[in-house]
Amino acid sequence: MPRDASDLLHGTLDVLVLKTLSWGAMHGYAIAEWIERRGEGELVIVDAALYKALHRLEESGAIISQWGLSDNNRRAKYYSLTTRGRARLRSESETWKRYALAVGRIIEST
């Protein structure tokens, strides 16, 4: 399926969020931290973009949210994957692996 550039960018963040949430329900800050840590500082994401992705994913039914209490007893919104989100994560991961491989091959070629 061909995608344009902005789609790709959204798609990148979406698949990262989905992957993160596959470990369990988290609030927004935890997701941001988790991505930064796993990306070893290479992936710097503007927080606002992350929240856009969260609300977009919620709207599309891939994740749902629920208010809960954080570790330090503050009200925080927790997101978790739905069945649909899990399926989407699987298919998007495949697409991304193939895409990254293709990009890599082009860049590596001499």
Binding site: A48, Y51, E59, I64, Q66, R74, K77
Partner: protein, 898 residues
């Protein structure tokens, strides 16, 4: 959004876009606070940490806009889905409720269906007959005028009387004479028999209608000797001319007279009812006699005046006329009757009563449904209390009850529409010719909508009241009291009980009415009319050849040939010819003179003196009959002989009389051989000798005593009428009609004819009674059904309410029959009170039936007794079912509150 079902209530959907923004703000605040904390841990100062966290977060405003934009429609959809899903849930719950108690759902919707359907059907029909205004402008101004004779009987108008009235009255803006009969219309080689009215100048000005096509009568059409012109009805235009606009100016023949069609009148304006065409009466000239009572008169009262004023005026004018011309006129007085009253006649009061009762019927249906619903709610009080306890709001409970009752109302109303449509069609199918204007009837949609709104509103209002009571009342009280006390039982049971009693009483009135009409109808149909009715076919003909010297000769040949053709039809055993078939109202009545001997030569100038001698006169129906007439009609010969082939034209004239006349005029039994003169009918003054006496016949009205009659020989006294009837006695009617339709035109194709069976003619003569019987009967049956359902529901309620008491009785050893008896007693009480009240009411109400009843008293004990027995029996059955249910109670279940 796919929400797992467990979450449905656990988290709340955002309620508004403000809520969305606030949620987002809180989320962002939390995020920033966490970030600040982390940055401070990394060594930044508080202020730097805040600046850094905000920088790292990015554009909050943009994020807010983005989220609101995607979430608002989402939120709206979710709310809608939530509402739909709760309604769907309630709908499923309602259906489950109905499955659990199908009898409640069935009875409630049947009650509504019957109430809505029967009320609408009956109201449509009755309303169509009496309440709908006549299809003319200002119909309340239209009156029918009558003269009144010395005995107070209504008289038609004679021309000079009418002219005098026109000249002298002060209350009428227009008045017109009219007279209706059949004429033939011949075109393209075939002739049709149509009903036509000769009308005087002002006729259409009285009715205030104009042709939809062509022109109205003009003064040049309304002179003595003017060529004949015709206005035709919309129906005839369609039937005979295929609705072609080319009809205007077409010339057809009526007998020997050319007639030009000049216009078409709009549909629905056929007056008098059944008229196909109108022609001006003036070309035929006026009859100067004050006693030629040939004309009906309608008039329009001047603006602002009433029919009563017109009556006073007409009465005064005619009394003055009588004072002026004296013996020359028989008209002593006059009256003006509103046209609608004239048309509806004697059934008006009855129809009005039925109309009122149909409104009551709808109320009763609503009350019954209310009863059922209240009983149902009472049973469900604890269920509702539980639902309130686990958090259902008042709105939610109301929604659920509303859905339940709306479902019932929808099913009931749908059934009602079906019943109404079928009912109107059934009532219309009977087409009572004597109840006028019934052809215009159709289902009245306004009534239907009204009935539906009333019944649906009842259901909805009850649901709301129940929801309010169920959720507003003391929860604990509802939980603990329902089914444990007879609380509310006393007063509300009395209310419900009296509703049922009223229903039962009304049912008694209706059923007694139906019973009386039925007994009267059966009586009527059992009357022997004195002639054969089965296998009898009548061919009505118009022999309208030119009236030259040979007219009667040609006519006689024509009918002889028709008779021969008729006899050749297989199955036809005998044929007769007459000037008036049974129930045609076509026979003449008159005064005859008894003479000393047949040789007397009568001088017209001496007649007056002879008629003044009352001992020498008699009054009888005058009929023309052919040789075969008595055999064909099956009228038995009592003594003497009937006509035979030797009674020739020009020979000594003979007559046959009926037993009624023989008994009345010659009580000593010496009628045979007597000579009479009966010239005032056909102008033939030749003395006639009576040669035979035949059996009596009832040919005007089954319920009336046979009229004295004189039959004269068709060959000897052919009369001058162009309308004669060929009567055939056959094995089967339909094949005979079909064969005659083929055979008769072979004699003369241009003579139009209409075929009737005597059975149809008699059936039509009792149409009005049959229709009333049907209307009241259907109505009574519906009322009985509703009353049965009413008894059933109130007794069921009682059983439900007293479940605990009954269980205790069972536990204490009461037998099944004791419990059944206990419940039945209630039903019996209700039905006895209802029957007693209804019986008394019926005694008063059935008096309006008096005019419709034949040889049945309005307090006929058989009708009353059978209705009361039926009613009590039905009430017993209706209370037996819940009684059995009560007896089957398992005491422990009930006592545990299960």
């Amino acid at each position: 959004m796919q929400v797992p079902s467990g979450f449905r209530r656990a988290f709340r959907l955002p309620a508004s876009s403000g809520q969305i923004a606030r949620d987002l703000e809180e989320e962002v605040e939390f995020h920033v606070a966490m970030r600040v904390k982390a940055l401070e841990r990394a060594g930044l100062t508080h202020d730097d940490a805040i600046t850094e966290a905000q920088r790292k977060f990015g554009d909050v405003q943009d994020l807010r806009d983005y989220c609101v934009a995607i979430e608002v429609p989402h939120m709206q959809r979710a709310h809608l889905r939530e509402r739909m899903s709760s309604m769907g849930q309630d709908l499923r719950f309602a259906l489950r409720q109905f499955r659990r108690s199908p009898s409640f759902a069935f009875i409630a919707s049947l009650t509504l269906a019957l109430g809505v359907g029967a009320t609408t059907a009956i109201f449509s029909v009755v309303n169509g007959v009496i309440l709908k205004p006549l299809p003319f402008n200002r119909p309340e101004q239209l009156v029918q005028l009558w003269g009144i004779d010395a005995n107070g009987h209504h008289l038609h108008f004679a021309d000079p009387t009418f002219d005098h009235l026109i000249a002298e009255n002060h209350t009428l803006s227009a008045a017109a004479e009219y007279n209706t009969g059949d004429i033939s219309l011949a075109m393209n080689g075939s002739a049709s028999r149509v009903t036509a009215s000769g009308v005087s100048k002002e006729f259409f000005r009285v009715l205030d209608v104009r042709p939809e096509l062509g022109r109205a009568f003009a003064p040049e059409d309304q002179q003595k000797g003017s060529p004949m012109v015709l206005l035709i009805s919309h129906g005839l235009w369609m039937r005979l001319f295929g609705g072609s606009p080319g009809v205007i100016g077409t010339t057809v023949r009526s007998g020997q007279t050319p007639v030009t069609v000049i216009g078409v009148m709009p549909a629905g304006t056929e007056y008098p009812a059944g008229t196909d065409a109108w022609y001006p009466r003036e070309p035929f000239g006026e009859d100067q006699s004050y006693t030629a009572h040939n004309w009906n008169v309608i008039a329009r009262v001047k603006d602002g005046l009433t029919a009563q004023a017109a009556t006073r005026d007409v009465s005064m004018v005619l009394r003055r006329l009588h004072a002026a011309v004296g013996e020359a006129t028989w008209t002593f007085d006059g009256t003006a009757i509103p046209l609608r009253d004239q048309i509806i006649g004697g059934v008006k009061v009855l129809l009005l009563l039925i109309l009122g009762a149909s409104a009551v019927l709808l109320l009763i249906a609503c009350a019954n449904v209310a009863n059922l619903l209240i009983a149902r709610m009472a049973v469900r009080e604890s269920e509702i209390a539980v639902r309130v306890a686990i958090g259902a709001g008042r709105g939610r409970i109301a929604q659920q009850l509303l859905i339940e009752t709306s479902l019932l109302a929808a099913v009931g109303c749908a059934g009602g529409i079906l019943i109404a449509a079928a009912g109107v069609r059934m009532l219309l199918a009977l087409r009572p010719a004597l109840i006028p204007r019934v052809g215009e009837l159709s289902l009245d949609w306004r009534v239907l909508v009204f009935a539906i709104v009333v019944s649906a509103a009842t259901a909805v209002a009850l649901a709301l009241v129940a929801a309010w009571r169920g959720t507003g009342g003391d929860l604990r009280a509802a939980l603990s009291q329902s089914q444990r006390t007879q609380g509310g039982g006393g007063a509300s049971y009395r209310v419900r009980g009296s509703l049922v009693v009223v229903q039962l009483a009304m049912t008694v009135v209706l059923l007694v009415g139906a019973g009386l009409l039925a007994r009267s109808f059966v009586g009527l149909m059992r009357i022997d009319p004195g002639f054969r009715t089965h296998g009898m076919v009548v061919a009505a003909t118009i022999f309208d050849d030119s009236r030259d010297a040979d007219y009667l000769g040609r006519r006689s040949v024509y009918y002889r040939q028709l008779a021969e053709r008729a006899l050749a039809i297989p199955g036809v055993t005998s044929v007769g010819i007459s000037d008036a078939p049974p129930f045609s109202n076509g026979s003449s009545n008159g005064t005859f003179l008894v003479l000393d001997n047949a040789g007397l030569k009568i001088v017209p100038s001496e007649l007056r003196a002879l008629f003044d001698d009352k001992t020498r006169t008699g009054y009888a129906t005058y009929r023309t009959a052919s040789v075969g007439y008595f055999k064909a009609m099956g009228i038995p010969l009592v003594t003497g002989r009937v006509f035979d082939a030797d009674d020739r034209t020009g020979g000594p004239q003979v007559a046959v009389i009926n037993a009624a006349l023989a008994h009345k005029q010659w009580p000593n039994g010496d009628a045979i051989g007597k000579v009479i003169e009966f010239g005032n009918i056909d102008g033939d003054l030749t003395p006639i000798t009576i040669v035979g006496i035949v059996g009596d016949t009832r040919e005007e009205d089954l319920a009336a005593d046979p009229a004295p009659a004189v039959y004269v020989d068709f060959d000897q006294r052919p009369g001058n009428s162009d309308q004669m009837y060929v009567i055939m006695a056959a094995a089967k009617e339909r094949p005979t009609i079909a064969a005659a339709r083929r055979a008769f035109p072979q004699v003369r194709a241009d003579i139009p004819m209409r075929f009737l069976t005597v059975e149809d003619i008699i059936g039509r003569s009792v149409d009005s009674q049959r229709f009333m019987l049907l209307l009241v009967g259907v109505f009574g049956t519906v009322a009985l059904l509703l009353a049965t359902l009413g008894v059933y529901s109130v007794i069921s309620y009682l059983v439900a309410q007293r479940g605990r008491e009954i269980s205790i009785r069972v536990a204490l050893g009461a037998s099944t029959s004791e419990i059944v008896g206990l419940v039945l007693k209630q039903g019996v009480m209700l039905s006895l009170v209802g029957a007693a009240l209804g019986g008394v009411a019926a005694l008063a109400a059935t008096r309006v039936l008096k005019r419709l009843l034949y040889q049945v008293s309005t307090s006929d004990p058989i009708a009353f007794a059978s209705v009361l027995v039926v009613l009590c029996g039905v009430a017993l059955v209706a209370s037996y079912i819940p009684a059995r249910r009560a007896a089957a109670f398992e005491p422990m279940d009930v006592l545990r509150g299960g």
